[in-house]
C-alpha cells in the first residue's frame, strides 16, 4: 500500500509536467495525445499522515480525459495538495476519456445518486463545447463547486519578428490582412481562436476577417511561428512564459487586468488600449443534486487549500494562477463567460 501511494503521488508529476504543453489542448484528438496509455488504467488512493484536521474523509476525482492532459494535472495536483496538507483523508482518481470530455459529464449526470463522493474537473471548454452543441449538457446540469485556478491567454511573436507590440501587429495586419495570419493550438471556434478574435475585435477590427490558422499541437504551432508561416501565435500565458524564458518569443500582450508577477515584462492588452480580458479557468463540479452540506464541505476544503505550503508547491511547479471562484461567484463567472463567448461565436458564425 505504501509503495502504491508513493507511485501515485509521483505519477501525478508526470501529468503535471505536461500541463504546460497541453494547456490549451483539450481540443486535440485523443489519439494524438495518447500519453494516456497505461496510467489511464490505474486508479490509486493516497493515504497520508494527517497534519490538519481533515475537512473531508475522501474525494474521488473524475477526470474527463486521459492521463497527461491539463485536466489530469489539475485533478492530481489538487488531490496531492489536499491529502498532503491533511485537508482530505484520501484522494482517488479516475480517468474517463471519450467524447472529448462529454462521456464523463454524461456519466456523472446519469449516476448522480451514487456519485456524491465525486468531484469532476473541467475548464473553459465545457462552456465552449456546450455552446456548439458538442456536449449535450452544460454547466447548469451539474453542481458547481468552485473554480480554483486559471491561466491568462497571450499573443506572442517570434524573437526575430519586427513586431514588438500589439500596435505593431495591428499595423502589420492593416497593411496586409490576408498575409498576416494568427495561429493557435485549437480548432477554429476554439479557445485560441476566440482569444485572437476577441483581441482584434476590442482593437476595433472586424474579427471575422482575421485569418486564423489552427494547429493540432502547441509544438507545431510554435514551429510555424518561428519558421515565419504565421505572424503571431495565440496561446496560454504559462506556456508563453516558458517560451519567452527560453529566448524563443516575445510576449506582446497578455489578457490579464494588470501585469502578472510571474513575468512582469509582458504588457497587458488593457495598457495598450485594447480593452479585453480572458481567463481560461479550471475548476471542480459535483453530481447534480449534491446535498448542500456536502457542497459546502468541498468548498471549505478547497478554500483552505490556498493557504497551505503544499498547494503553493504544486501551484508554483505548474505555473498556475490562483483564481478562486466559489459557489455563486463561480456561477456568475460562468454565465458571464458563456455570454461573452456566445456573442463572439455568433458574430464569427460558429453558432
Amino acid at each position: 500500500m505504501c509503495q502504491v501511494s508513493v507511485f501515485s503521488r509521483k505519477s501525478w508529476v508526470t501529468n503535471a509536467a505536461l500541463v504546460k504543453w497541453e494547456d490549451t489542448m483539450s481540443f486535440i484528438r485523443a489519439r494524438r495525445v495518447v500519453a494516456a496509455a497505461a496510467l489511464a488504467a490505474m486508479t490509486f488512493s493516497m493515504p497520508t499522515a494527517s497534519i490538519a484536521e481533515p475537512v473531508v474523509d475522501s474525494i474521488h476525482f473524475l477526470i474527463p480525459g486521459g492521463a497527461g492532459g491539463g485536466w489530469d494535472g489539475t485533478a492530481r495536483g489538487t488531490g496531492e495538495a489536499l491529502t498532503k496538507s491533511g485537508l482530505a483523508g484520501t484522494a482517488s482518481f479516475e480517468n474517463m476519456s471519450g467524447g472529448g470530455g462529454g462521456k464523463a459529464i454524461g456519466y456523472l449526470i446519469e449516476n448522480a445518486a451514487s456519485q456524491h463522493g465525486t468531484l469532476m474537473v473541467n475548464s473553459t471548454p465545457i462552456v465552449i463545447r456546450s455552446l456548439t452543441g458538442v456536449f449535450p449538457h452544460n454547466f447548469r446540469d451539474l453542481t458547481l463547486v468552485a473554480g480554483t485556478i486559471g491561466d491568462y491567454a497571450a499573443i506572442v511573436v517570434g524573437k526575430d519578428s519586427p513586431i514588438n507590440s500589439m500596435s505593431d501587429l495591428l499595423a502589420a495586419y492593416k497593411a496586409d490582412k490576408r498575409g498576416t495570419a494568427i495561429g493557435g493550438g485549437s480548432v477554429p471556434g476554439g479557445m485560441d481562436h476566440l482569444v485572437a478574435a476577441m483581441v482584434m475585435e476590442a482593437a476595433g477590427e472586424d474579427a471575422t476577417m482575421v485569418k486564423y490558422i489552427p494547429y493540432d499541437a502547441g509544438g507545431k504551432a510554435m514551429a510555424a511561428l518561428l519558421s515565419g508561416e504565421i505572424s503571431a501565435l495565440s496561446t496560454g500565458f504559462s506556456e508563453a512564459i516558458d517560451l519567452a524564458n527560453a529566448g524563443e518569443v516575445k510576449i506582446i500582450g497578455v489578457t490579464a487586468d494588470e501585469r502578472v508577477a510571474a513575468y512582469k515584462d509582458a504588457p497587458t492588452m488593457k495598457e495598450q488600449g485594447i480593452d479585453t480580458t480572458f481567463v481560461n479557468w479550471r475548476g471542480f463540479f459535483g453530481a447534480p443534486g449534491l446535498p448542500e452540506a456536502q457542497v459546502a464541505t468541498y468548498q471549505e476544503a478547497l478554500a483552505k487549500m490556498y493557504d497551505t505550503p503544499e498547494w503553493e508547491e504544486v501551484r508554483a511547479r505548474n505555473g498556475w494562477v490562483n483564481i478562486h471562484n466559489s459557489g455563486e461567484d463561480f456561477h456568475a463567472f460562468l454565465e458571464g463567460q458563456e455570454k461573452a463567448i456566445g456573442d463572439l461565436m455568433k458574430k464569427l458564425g460558429f453558432l
Binding site: F7, K10, S11, W12, V13, T14, A16, A17, L18, K20, W21, I28, R29, A30, R31, R32, V33, V34, A35, A36, A37, A38, L39, A40, A41, G66, A67, G68, N95, S97, G98, G99, G100, G102, K103, G106, V134, R178, V187, P188, G189, G190, I213, P214, Y215, A217, G219, K220, A223, A224, L226, S227, G228, E229, D242, N245, A246, G247, E248, R317
Partner: protein, 505 residues
C-alpha cells in the same frame, strides 16, 4: 564544441549514468515489445522515476534510453505476430512478418536489430556534429511542404499494388483516408461522421485499427487454416540469426541511405519516425532493381532494413528541435519536454551554452545506448524468435490476448474492443478477397496529417497557389510522381532493350 564533447563524455561515462542508459534501454526494449505500449506510454510511466532522480542529465539519459529502447523493441511484435504497437513500426511488419512466416524469424530480428543500431548510431553522430546547424533546417518546412512530404509517403502503397492489384490497393488507401476523417479534426470545430456516437468523437484509435487490420486477421487465419502454423519451418531455422554475405551487401547501402534520410525527416517537427519509416520504405522499394522490387511486401530484407533504420534515426533526429529550439515534434518529445521543464531545464537555443553537460551527455549516451541495445538484443533473439515455435493452441490465445490488451490499454475504453473485433472480422473478409490491408493503414495514418497540412496551406495562400509559389513543395510533389512512375519506366526500357536485342539477332 570539443570542450562540450569532453564534458559530455565524462558525464555520460560516470558509473551512475551508465546504469541509467542500461536501465532505460532494458525497460524500453522489454515493454516496447508488447503491442499497445508505445514509447509515449512507457516514457509517461518512467517520468516520475526520472524526476525523482533529480539530476537533469541522468533523468534525460534514462528517458532517452527508454525512448529509443522502445523503438528498438517495438519491431519485435511487428515481426513475430504482425502486431505493430506503434505507427512507426507498421512499415516494419510489411516485410518483417512475411520473413517470419517463411521461418526466418531469427534472421528478420537480426536484420531489424542491426538496422536499428545503425540508424540510431548514425543518427547520434549526425546529431553530435550538426545539431546546432540543423536548428534552422527544422524551420525550413511550412505546412505546404509537410503536405507534399505526406504525398511522398503515400507512394509507399505502390509496394502493394502489384499486377492486377492496383485498383484494390488504391481502393483500400481511399478507405483508409476516409476513416482518418472521422471524429474531431484540428481544423473543424464540429466532429465529423460520428453518427452521434460519443466514442467516435475522437476518431478511430490507431492501435485498434492496426491490431484489427494486421494482428487479428493473422490470428484468425491461424485458427481457420491449421497448416499455416506449421509452415514456419523447423525450430532450428527460426533461431538462425545468420545473414548471408549477399544479404549483407544488399542491405548495407539501404541502411546507410535510410539512416541519413530518416534522421533529416526526424529533424522536422511536423514529420517524425512514422513518416520517416514510410518514406524510407517507399524510396527503397521504388529505386530497387525490378527483381528485388517484386520481393517487397513478401519478405524482402531490404524492405525490413529500410524502415527500421529510418525510424530509429528519426527518433534521434527529433532531439534536434527539442534540444535546440525547445519545440517538441511528436507526442513523445512533448512528454520529454514536460519532464525537462519539471526539472527546471528549459530547452532552447541557450541550453547548449548554459548547460552544456546536459546537451552533450545526452547525445553521447545515445551512442552508448545503441551499442548496449545491440549487445543486449542479439543474444536474446533465438529465445524471442522461439515464441513462434510455441504450439498453435497456446500461441493463438497469446496473440489474441496481446491484441485485445493493446487496444484496451490506450483509451481504457471497452468500446475499443468491440470496434477491434468488428474491424478484425471485416479485415479478415477483405483478406479472403485478396485486398491488401497495408494501404488502408498507411492511408489512415497519413490521412489526417495530409488533410491538416493541405487545408492549412489552402488557408494561408487563399487557394492551391502554394504548389506553384513554393518551389520545395513542387519539388517534393515531383519526387512523389517520379517514385511512382520510375519503376514502370525502367521496366519499359528493359523490355525495349530486350526487344531490340531480339531484333538484332
Amino acid at each position: 564544441m570539443l570542450d562540450g564533447i569532453w564534458v559530455g563524455l565524462s558525464t555520460a561515462f560516470s558509473f551512475s549514468n551508465l546504469l541509467m542508459v542500461i536501465g532505460g534501454c532494458l525497460i524500453g526494449t522489454f515493454i516496447g515489445m508488447l503491442p499497445g505500449l508505445g514509447p509515449m506510454s512507457i516514457i509517461a510511466i518512467m517520468i516520475p522515476v526520472a524526476i525523482s532522480i533529480g539530476d537533469p542529465s541522468a533523468a534525460l539519459i534514462l528517458l532517452a534510453g527508454v525512448y529509443y529502447g522502445a523503438i528498438f523493441g517495438g519491431s519485435t511484435s511487428s515481426i513475430l505476430i504482425n502486431a505493430p504497437g506503434v505507427a512507426s513500426t507498421v512499415a516494419t511488419s510489411f516485410d518483417g512478418y512475411p520473413l517470419a512466416r517463411q521461418g526466418k524469424a531469427g534472421k528478420a530480428l537480426t536484420v531489424a536489430a542491426i538496422a536499428s543500431f545503425a540508424g540510431g548510431s548514425i543518427g547520434a553522430i549526425l546529431l553530435m556534429i550538426f545539431a546546432p546547424a540543423l536548428a534552422s533546417v527544422a524551420l525550413l518546412f511550412h505546412s505546404a511542404e509537410y503536405f507534399a512530404l505526406m504525398v511522398v509517403g503515400l507512394s509507399a502503397i505502390a509496394a502493394f499494388a502489384g499486377s492486377g492489384q492496383v485498383g484494390k490497393a488504391l481502393l483500400m488507401t481511399l478507405v483508409g483516408l476516409m476513416m482518418a476523417t472521422v471524429g474531431e479534426g484540428a481544423l473543424f470545430n464540429q466532429p465529423r461522421f460520428t453518427m452521434g456516437i460519443l466514442d467516435l468523437q475522437s476518431g478511430f484509435g490507431f492501435i485498434t485499427l492496426a491490431m484489427a487490420m494486421f494482428a487479428l486477421p493473422e490470428a484468425l487465419f491461424l485458427v481457420l487454416d491449421p497448416s499455416r502454423s506449421n509452415s514456419g519451418g523447423s525450430s532450428g531455422d527460426i533461431k538462425d540469426l545468420r545473414i548471408t554475405k549477399a544479404e549483407a551487401k544488399k542491405i548495407a547501402p539501404v541502411i546507410g541511405r535510410q539512416s541519413i534520410q530518416g534522421f533529416l525527416i526526424g529533424v522536422l517537427p511536423g514529420a517524425g519516425a512514422t513518416i520517416a519509416s514510410f518514406l524510407g520504405y517507399a524510396v527503397e522499394r521504388n529505386i530497387a532493381p525490378k527483381e528485388e522490387q517484386a520481393e517487397f511486401g513478401k519478405g524482402s530484407v531490404k524492405g525490413l532494413a529500410a524502415p527500421e533504420s529510418a525510424n530509429n534515426a528519426a527518433c534521434t533526429g527529433s532531439f534536434v528541435p527539442l534540444l535546440t529550439l525547445g519545440i517538441p515534434g511528436s507526442g513523445t518529445t512533448a512528454i520529454l519536454l514536460g519532464a525537462l521543464i519539471a526539472l527546471n531545464v528549459s530547452p532552447g537555443p541557450r541550453l547548449m551554452i548554459d548547460q552544456p553537460e546536459i546537451f552533450w551527455s545526452v547525445i553521447i549516451s545515445m551512442y552508448v545506448g545503441n551499442v548496449i541495445l545491440l549487445i543486449l538484443n542479439l543474444p536474446l533473439i533465438p529465445y524471442i524468435a522461439k515464441v513462434l515455435a510455441v504450439p498453435r493452441n497456446y500461441l493463438i490465445p497469446f496473440i489474441l490476448f496481446f491484441t485485445l490488451m493493446g487496444a484496451y490499454i490506450g483509451q481504457n475504453n471497452a468500446t475499443e474492443l468491440l470496434m477491434l473485433v468488428g474491424f478484425g472480422v471485416c479485415a479478415t473478409l477483405l483478406r479472403f478477397a485478396n485486398y491488401p490491408l497495408a494501404p488502408l493503414l498507411i492511408g489512415f495514418i497519413l490521412g489526417s496529417m495530409l488533410e491538416d497540412n493541405f487545408s492549412r496551406s489552402m488557408q494561408l495562400y487563399d487557394g492551391i497557389g502554394f504548389i506553384m509559389e513554393r518551389p520545395m513543395t513542387m519539388g517534393l510533389l515531383a519526387l512523389a510522381v517520379i517514385l511512382v512512375v520510375l519503376p514502370t519506366i525502367r521496366a519499359r526500357r528493359v523490355r525495349k532493350q530486350e526487344l531490340e536485342a531480339a531484333e538484332s539477332d
